[in-house]
Symmetry: C2
Subunit: 169 residues, 2 copies
Amino acid sequence: MAQQEVQNGGAEKVASAGAVTFTAVKPQLLVEAPKANDAVQFYKAAFGAEEVGRSLHPKRKAEQETPLVLSAELQLGGFTIFVSDLPVDSATAGKTAGGAVVLCLETDEVEAAIAKAVAAGAVAEGEVVEGEGACCVGRVGKVKDPYGFLWSICSSGKKCASAEAEAVA
Amino acid sequence: MAQQEVQNGGAEKVASAGAVTFTAVKPQLLVEAPKANDAVQFYKAAFGAEEVGRSLHPKRKAEQETPLVLSAELQLGGFTIFVSDLPVDSATAGKTAGGAVVLCLETDEVEAAIAKAVAAGAVAEGEVVEGEGACCVGRVGKVKDPYGFLWSICSSGKKCASAEAEAVA
């Protein structure tokens, strides 16, 4: 029923809205303020992320010694992630709004990557397993970082089975 | 203090773990089972996502008419996202484990993208604003999808101010 509505409504509006082109998908991690800067340092140490830009919260610059991070832009594996302070007054909205998202990091060095993340302060969740996991078939382990985010560290270049996708498409 | 520990611990272990190379960061959206398939249909209608692969939960294939989705691989703006059913027995773990993540979608057609997503069943959160937002400077609006995930639809090609990043690096 809900799916039917989506399909009908979607098809009707696609014509009026035209084709929309997206150029990127970039995860933004909302960190309890004012820990975004700590989180950025952690992602540098744990994953070798590189900070390429940062904007500060304009309303907080003059009021606090530690200005809140509106958005820190990190490069990681050729991809972009943003890290932002979630101000306390919007913390409830942010926590309840988001569904659960796991960030899959692809690498050929799964064990070494997990060891490095754990050394930097992440907590391993379970063992490294073969054959099932978030990022489809392959070797995968999970870590939870000190800011509450879950990362799947998985072997790169593995794809979902496309045959099954065709069967259900 | 915590940051100090991370830096010391990180630097020490980097040498032993060596440099780890990541090749990709891919968000995985955990959807309350068995709604992952509905969510995939929604992302096709709302964002024009293309499903390129799907794997089903091996333990559920024979037990249920609607097998759970272990991972559906979607292409969106040249990026990959995964959509997975979160089985009920792990729902609590998944919900509490993840920090809040917003998915930033870059496009030159912010208003049209939001209209199309809303037509497909998303709910707009606030107005489109200029000059501040999740994905740094630019035009940005937010929608919440029927599965609880927050998307920032923002104008593409905008960067964080790098001067500020240098000042705090």
